[in-house]
């Protein structure tokens, strides 16, 4: 039941981004907005078992670079499971077995020689519930660069922290209280702090598992805006239960059902003319 239509969105996705981006900000040519999007993440026949229970059945997908890809589907269909395969977070679950092949920029991430810890520095993750470290705002963002040694001086680190917070749209709100605990921020701010923390290590892909499900509509709108902007530099994969959110932020949408990738294509197409009846039923709210 795998539906791959890479050609259908390769031309449409970025155009959408550009058009909408035009309205909100000046374009910088360096941001690479006009380049055609290559497949950043390619998965082939990915199967996941939790012990005896199979959670994913032969998922194959190509996720294009510098765009937002949304995973939708009813609860328990394996969206999070697949997302966690992309940064090998599932390795931490002892009973979880992953088969198949996932490549990022053509390199097999399940290669024995590859260090999953380094992979996770390249593939950042934002979780459903905001989970800042119980440390200062500064330390939250600085932690990643520190352990990876990407900065050499305090000054550089300060810069990285500032840029990350700016990119996450949080700088203006917290610049005067960087030494205060990150846990003291509001839920939406905490989630943006987590996003800043993820981008501080300079990842190429950012995985977001229902990043707005614990937030109110205003905070959600801010995060969505942010996601939209981040897509200029990062490849973003987002799991969401909100059709509107998927429609608003993503260029591609993948619909999962009972562990199968049922349908995958340009967001517009999935929402306007789905080819599978199950997708149709889900989108129109007939089940799930």
């Amino acid at each position: 039941m795998v539906t791959d239509h890479p050609e259908t969105f390769h031309n449409q996705g970025p155009t959408t981004v550009n058009r909408m981006a035009d309205l909100t900000m000046p374009l910088t040519p360096a941001a690479g907005l006009f380049t055609a999007n290559e497949a950043k993440v390619t998965a082939r026949d990915v199967t996941v078992h939790y012990g005896e229970k199979q959670a994913l059945f032969g998922v194959s997908i190509d996720i294009p670079e510098r765009s937002v890809t949304a995973f939708i589907g009813p609860s328990g269909c394996g969206k999070s499971t697949f997302l966690r395969c992309i940064n090998r977070m599932n390795d931490t679950i002892p009973i979880c077995r992953v088969a198949g092949e996932i490549r990022i920029d053509g390199a097999d991430i399940y290669d024995r020689r590859l260090d999953p810890v380094l992979l996770r520095a390249r593939v950042g993750m934002v979780f459903q519930k905001p989970n800042p470290f119980p440390k200062s705002i500064y330390e939250n963002v600085a932690y990643g660069p520190r352990i990876h040694g990407t900065t050499t001086s305090r000054q550089e680190l300060d810069e990285v922290v500032e840029t990350s917070l700016r990119k996450a749209g949080l700088w203006d709100e917290v610049k005067d209280r960087l030494d205060q605990p990150g846990t003291g921020l509001s839920g939406g701010q905490q989630q943006r702090l987590c996003i800043a923390r993820a981008i501080a290590v300079g990842p190429e892909v950012i995985l977001m598992d229902e990043p707005c499900s614990a937030l109110d509509p205003i905070a959600t709108a801010r995060i969505e805006e942010l996601i939209f902007e981040l897509a200029r530099n990062f490849t973003i994969v987002i799991v969401t239960h909100s059709m509107q959110q998927a429609a608003r932020v993503s260029q591609q949408t993948a619909f999962f059902h009972l562990g199968h990738l049922v349908e995958y294509g340009a967001t517009e197409q999935i929402f306007t003319a789905p080819s599978d009846t199950r997708t149709q039923d889900y989108i129109t709210g007939r089940f799930g």
Binding site: N87, M89, T92, V117, R120, M125, N131, P134, I147
Partner: protein
């Protein structure tokens, strides 16, 4: 997946107005009220016992924190305080510093000449260590020799306990009416119209009570006698005993029945002392208006004194069953009346080691022993315990072997402490040949005892750290170990420290294993290192509790107070740590 399940008929609304529903509500309220009442009752009972326990210990232990001294003016002679007539440090150290104190006491009570009285005055009123303070002062400044020096000399433990009112009940009254005394020394007659009537009545009542008690006991024996077969030889002897008791009781009753007849005061009745004209008379026989007495401390003059210028002191505990005679007490009362007796905070209790003399015994040895032991325990336990907990909780593969280890750690936590003591005896002393009674071995044994507690508490603390923090760290590319050491461990630290402190508090109060490895010896010197012989605080309590002197009983309770204070402080520290590091996430 959607509208398959809910059949609207399956859900029935609750009829809140129905009787059954109201009754159910009332039942629920009653059950809740009952539960609250049980809880409060349980708390009240627990609180009551706690108050009783702590109150009892505090009342018993307070005397341990003060000591009585007598202020004496002494003129130390070189011949007394120096062994060879020079003022070299060695010569001065060996000197007899009690001698000038004795001379001063002799001046205070010049009438004391008999061997027995001198022994009592010099060795049973003054402490054996009374000269120590004077030695310190003279060694610091030999120029004091030959000049009058005011010293505050430590009193013996029995004298101290008497002055604190712990040796006998004591009732003091101001004398009623005038009092005529026939002499200033020796045996005297005291006349005072009606002044002794009350005392006499009390004595007569005591006689009546005693007669009744004897009669009751004799009656019981007589009843059991009836059960014996006629002709049993025991019958005759028992009957004789009963008859003797009955006649004794009859005699007592006869004495009690004559209210005006004088009574003789002996060593088995409460003592009556009369303080008058700067001296003390002990009454030997008492009538309503006249008493015979013996002078214990000479009076300034004989003759008649007016109302209110004399007082009586009743010592409720009969002389025969207390540690100080009336003579001792008369001297103490006299010194007290002259304002020579002072009460001081007993720093000695914290700064000296154990001693056979209660007034000289202190906690320092036990305290230092306990500290050294705790130090060894902590150094061994904290790193091993935390490391074991981290490994087991975070890194160990989950298999049979780790399961087995886990079960056995839990088992170890339940092993009685005395078993660890036996283990320590067998392994550390007999096999490895470590020194007996040493804090090192005590610490090793207690470490075994505390280790499981620390491991279990640390694992619980690690487990309580929310997984989202671990995921967050892994998500930014931290390795498992980095996630554990940078984030999980710091968040678990308050829990780990709390567990450690509670474990250490447990170890601090532990006695049984220390007894087995020989930390129970009588040790005067304060240990300087972990390999020297030492006791520990709870062992010191155990040792003192075995001694008969009432002063040691007070010391026992005092040491318990100190131990409890330490435990409270440690537990308080645990609470503070938890509060301080507790963060919400």
């Amino acid at each position: 997946m959607t509208d398959a399940a809910l059949d609207p008929g399956a859900v029935r609304a609750i009829d809140l107005a129905s009787d059954a529903s109201r009754a159910r509500l009332r039942r629920r309220y009653r059950a809740e009220a009952r539960f609250r009442a049980y809880g409060i009752a349980a708390l009240a009972v627990a609180g009551l016992f706690l108050v009783l326990l702590v109150g009892d210990i505090v009342i018993k232990g307070l005397p341990a924190f003060t000591e009585s001294r007598v202020t004496l003016t002494v003129t130390p002679q070189l011949s007394q305080v120096s062994t060879d007539g020079t003022t070299g440090a060695d010569a001065l150290r060996g000197g007899d510093y009690a001698a000038p104190l004795r001379a001063s006491l002799q001046e205070l009570f010049p009438e004391v000449t008999s061997r027995q009285d001198r022994r009592r005055l010099f060795f049973e009123i003054l402490s054996g260590g009374a000269g120590d303070d004077l030695r310190r002062r003279i060694m610091a400044d030999p120029g004091l020799i030959g000049r009058p020096v005011t010293v505050s000399a430590l009193l013996d433990d029995s004298a101290d306990m008497y002055l604190k009112g712990r040796l006998t009940g004591r009732v003091e009254r101001t004398g009623r009416g005038t009092l005529a005394i026939s002499g200033a020394t020796g045996d005297v007659t005291l006349d005072s119209p009606g002044a002794f009537r009350d005392t006499l009545a009390t004595i007569k009542k005591a006689l009546r009570d005693e007669a009744a008690a004897i009669e009751a006991a004799a009656g019981r024996v007589a009843q059991r006698l009836e059960a014996l077969p006629v002709g049993d030889p025991r019958r005759a002897t028992a009957q004789a005993g009963v008859d003797a008791d009955r006649s004794r009781a009859a005699a007592l009753r006869a004495r009690a029945a004559a209210p005006e007849a004088p009574e003789v005061l002996g060593t088995d009745t409460p003592s009556e002392l009369v303080a008058v004209n700067g001296g003390i008379v002990k009454l030997t026989s008492i009538g309503p208006s006249q008493a015979q007495g013996r002078v214990l401390v000479p009076l300034g003059t004989a003759g008649t004194v007016s109302e209110g210028a004399w007082r009586t002191i009743t010592l409720l505990q009969p002389e025969g069953s207390r540690r100080l005679t009336d003579q001792h007490i008369a001297w103490l009362e006299d010194m007290r009346a002259e304002g020579l007796v002072t009460r001081h905070f007993a720093t000695r209790f914290f700064t000296s080691g154990d001693s056979r003399e209660p007034e000289l015994a202190g906690l320092l040895g036990g305290l230092v022993g306990s500290l050294l032991t705790m130090f060894v325990t902590l150094v061994l336990c904290l790193p091993t315990g935390v490391a074991a907990a981290i490994y087991l909780e975070e890194f160990a593969p989950k298999n049979r072997i780790t399961d087995l280890i886990e079960v056995n750690i839990n088992n170890l936590a339940a092993v009685p402490s005395i078993v660890f003591g036996l283990l320590g005896l067998a392994v550390f002393l007999n096999f490895f040949g470590l020194p007996r009674s040493a804090p090192l071995v005590g610490g090793l044994v207690l470490a075994l005892l505390v280790l499981p507690t620390i491991i279990i508490a640390s694992r619980a603390a690690l487990k309580a750290v929310p997984p989202s923090i671990r995921e967050a760290a892994l998500g930014v590319g931290a390795s498992h170990q980095q996630a554990v050491f940078h984030h999980v461990l710091p968040m678990a630290m308050p829990g780990i420290l709390t567990g450690t402190i509670i474990g250490m508090a447990h170890a601090l109060g532990e006695t049984a294993p220390l007894l087995l490895i020989g930390m129970v010896a009588f040790i005067v010197d304060t240990p300087q290192s972990v390999t020297q012989a030492a006791t520990a605080l709870p062992v010191q309590i155990y040792l003192w509790s075995d001694l008969p002197e009432p002063a040691f009983q007070a010391k026992t309770a005092g040491a318990i107070i100190v131990l409890l204070v330490f435990l409270f402080v440690m537990n308080g520290l645990a609470v503070v740590l938890r509060r301080k590091f507790e963060r919400r996430w």
